[in-house]
């Protein structure tokens, strides 16, 4: 079960403090955590708490990405539109352990892919099949990069986020990781492409 999917910045942003990250897209699957615990929060406070928890994850992943890149010592190569597969191949990847309570209820694992200046994160349950999750994350990232032209200077990721919703609806319905062989995956991708064409 995937708890949430995030796209956020992993590069320094002028208007934010260093180490902070701007979340460009976030989607939490499932009901709000605090609904089911005995927390006495009203719905506004619950929402705020959830968004702040996601911000915590984004910050942790930002740190992990920068430490990983620093340790690997690789020079960042600029990639442009059309070179999505190259960008994906060059991407850094890793997995973070999120302890119980820090910030979510129950232990979780955050799988991340750092593509140039953006990070793509899947927060999964701790016992999840990480091989499947990794493959799904790569697939999602490739589709996002292609369908939203993210390697270019445009802002489609902000203005056309319904495309990501549709992508998630097919590939990761309600946060469910699917065992899709190439035929099933092709069939779903055709549906997604048909949607994007409109």
């Amino acid at each position: 079960m995937v708890h949430s999917f995030l796209i956020h910045t992993v590069c320094p942003i002028a208007t934010l403090a260093s180490g902070e990250s701007r979340i460009l897209y976030s989607r939490v699957f499932g009901p709000e955590e605090s609904v089911l615990t005995a927390d006495e929060l009203n719905s506004e406070e619950r929402r705020l708490l959830q968004r702040e928890k996601l911000a915590v994850v984004a910050r942790k992943v930002r740190t992990a990405v920068s430490l990983s890149r620093e340790a690997a010592g690789r020079v960042m190569v600029e990639v442009v539109l059309g070179e999505e597969l190259v960008a994906l191949q060059e991407a850094d990847s890793g997995v973070l352990r999120l302890r119980d309570g820090d910030p979510f209820l129950g232990e979780k694992s955050a799988l991340w892919l750092g593509v140039q200046s953006l990070g793509f994160v899947l927060v999964c349950e701790a016992h999840e099949n990480l091989m499947l999750a990794e493959g799904t994350l790569r697939n999602l990232t490739r589709n996002c990069l292609e369908q939203l032209r993210m390697l270019g200077p445009g802002s489609e990721v902000l203005l056309k986020s319904d495309r990501i919703d549709v992508l998630l609806d097919r590939m990761l319905p309600h946060g469910q990781l699917l065992f899709l062989n190439h035929r099933f995956a092709n069939s779903l991708e055709k549906e997604v492409t048909a949607y994007m064409a409109k």
Binding site: A14, G30, E32, A71, N129, S155, L158, H174, L178, F179
Partner: protein, 804 residues
Amino acid sequence: MYAAGSESLVKQAREIQDSELLKFQNRIGKLLQGRDHGHELVDSLRRLHLILTATKYTRRLPAELQKSLASLLRSSSVEQLQVLSSAVLRETLPPPGQGRNYSHLQDHSPLTNYGAALLVSQAESISDLSALCCHLLRGLEGRPLEAAAHPHTHTLPIINTVLTHCPEVLNQDQVTLLSKKLVDWLRYASVQQGGGASSGGFFAGSRSRQPGPTAELDGSVSGDFFTVLCVGQCFSDDQWMNVYSFSVLRHWLLTYHSVADGNATGDPDTHGSVDGSVVSMVSATSSSSRLLPPRERLREKAFQYCQRLIEQSDRKAVKRTDAELQKACLVEAVCVLDCVCVEDASLVYRTFPFVKSLCGRLSSDLAFSRVLLPIAQFYLNHGETAAVDCECVWRLVFGRYPSELYNNSFLAHELLRFLRLNQGTLLLRVPEFTHSFPNLLKFLAWDSPAVVDDFVDLLPSLVTPGTAVELLHSLLDLPCLTAALFLQLRSSCYPITEPGGRGLTSLEAFRSPSYRGLFLFLLRAEAGAGDTIDRLGTLHELLVEAADWPRVVQCAQTVPVLLHIYFNAVVTVADDKLLSQLILVLLDRSSLILNIPNYTKEIHRVFSFHLLKLCKLRPSLVVNQSHELMDLAGSTINVYSKEDLFTHVVWVLGEHLSMSCDSRCSVELITSCFEGLEAVLFEITSSAPPPEQPCPAPRVITSLMSALAKLASRSHDLIPRVSLFLSKLRTLSRGVSVPWCSDEEDVVAVVTRGEELWSLLKLPGVAQSVLTPPPRTTSPRWHGDTNTALALRLRALSALTNSH
């Protein structure tokens, strides 16, 4: 990628004025009321979504707009409008008052995926989720499948999401219904290719073409029932449900089939089969499975499905993504088999042959390392039941994988998680575990930030009396291990001579035969070969250029944390002899640390803290190790090179070198210690520090003075000598600069302390009870002590009586 344009968009969205937003929302409201749901509406909804997600504070939409959007979600057949209305409503709060949630969406079935997503995210209580699940399950029962693509497919994911958060949402009947459905979808999906939906064929004759059977991933025709590893031109609905069913299977089994689940109203037979003494070897065969109750039937079908997947994974897939999927399926299959065997131990005998041959097939291929981990878990859980030798698995997990795959971050995460979760069992059953720490530390040395959290939990188990000293040395030399691993990787990736490349002296040293032994020791796989090497200093010199490699620096930052954990763990398992040894190591290694900026200082700080703690816990250690402690404290250079540690050593000597702590402490010992410290104090207060060294902190001087005073209070002959020094100190008047201290206020503090001690020592009896208090007074017994208890009792009584 993320350009200034995007940032300014976000800024605009965050800073939009309420009045402007209201105008915008009203415009959208008007557009919704009009029948033209064209491009302008789509664009406006997208912008509204951006505005709502730009800040972390949630906004409320005007009630009218909310209602219009809800009705759009319900009634529109255009997917884009459904997506957008669902997304916008998800980002806002449900309307207050009557009709709190959107449950009226369910009144008009079918419930779309986006409608369901909204209901799940806006659920206010378990009963909301329960109602949604009931609605979905009603849709499953009996209604014929519609022509629309995948009408039921999302039922399972939604239920699975809900179950993750509250497993009690389904009642027993619903669980039984779903179990039956899962059995059907898993085992009895069609083996013919779906022919309904158009495959985009050019020729009109596609509709009349007979669909053939599905194929395996290597192209051959499928010979058995349909699974996720079967391919076809297009798929029928039940084949889709097959995929969804397998995807949710493990979680379903974990939620509803755990043995410890006392609420299970399943057959009492299932519990009987777990009985250790009479384990049935004759488990139900597939032919009679139709007679089994639903839970058992699902278990049996799950078993068969996994068996088939394991066989299918042996085929060579044509596409690379399919090969990756095969690995993921193997992992899942073994996990499901593990679940199933935990529930019904009689299945272990049927399962083990598959798992064992799988292990044999994959153990020599490093590409399948991550598949071996669930197999290791299976062996750990069921190896004893089946009386199978698990050595081959442990050799991989503790031997080959850490030494060769330490740089695979996913393997590291999963392997360390496996160790963390099974620490208790591994400690009991697998002796290799505690002896393989040199190998396991390789994960930490390579990628400290990612795995240090795992080691925080894992390290205490690795601390055993037999290996404690070697472990301490290994932790201190962890940055050296990082450098060695880096050199090893470079050495194997690059040719022997790099033409014109920048030569690393450490790399040459790594390859040279005369230093090979040093590196081999660092890179060893097992403990037991020796605590450390003699030529450690040489090794540190060879690696001096590694001190600014980012990986080494990151590793050095995690070592102090781990040392704290180490020391906290070791006091629970060590006897006095071992603790004495550790203090020796501490003192020796304080000058033998890889020279990374700040690293030495941090290590000294940790050492100082724990030296203090250890000596407070076992004061007799000070007398045991007085000779070595004096070696450090009696040498003036240490004041400048190891100030922190020096101060603490002096402190523990002053505090614990007494007859009340250890009866072996003699007057001669106290006197010789006194003389050593006195000499150092005279030396540092009579002249300026050596060139390029800062003045010693005032704390050093006051600790020395206090220690001397304490020792003197135990052997009164020494008092005159201390008093003489202290009285000389008193003569230092204000404003006089001294060579050993640059700050006037610090001098005043030192002089004040000197005066206090001097006046104290004028009354030897008092000095003794103040400076060497009996242990009784330093550990107060509060209510257990009659004198202190009286005050406490009175206070408690007055608080009770005065509360009215």
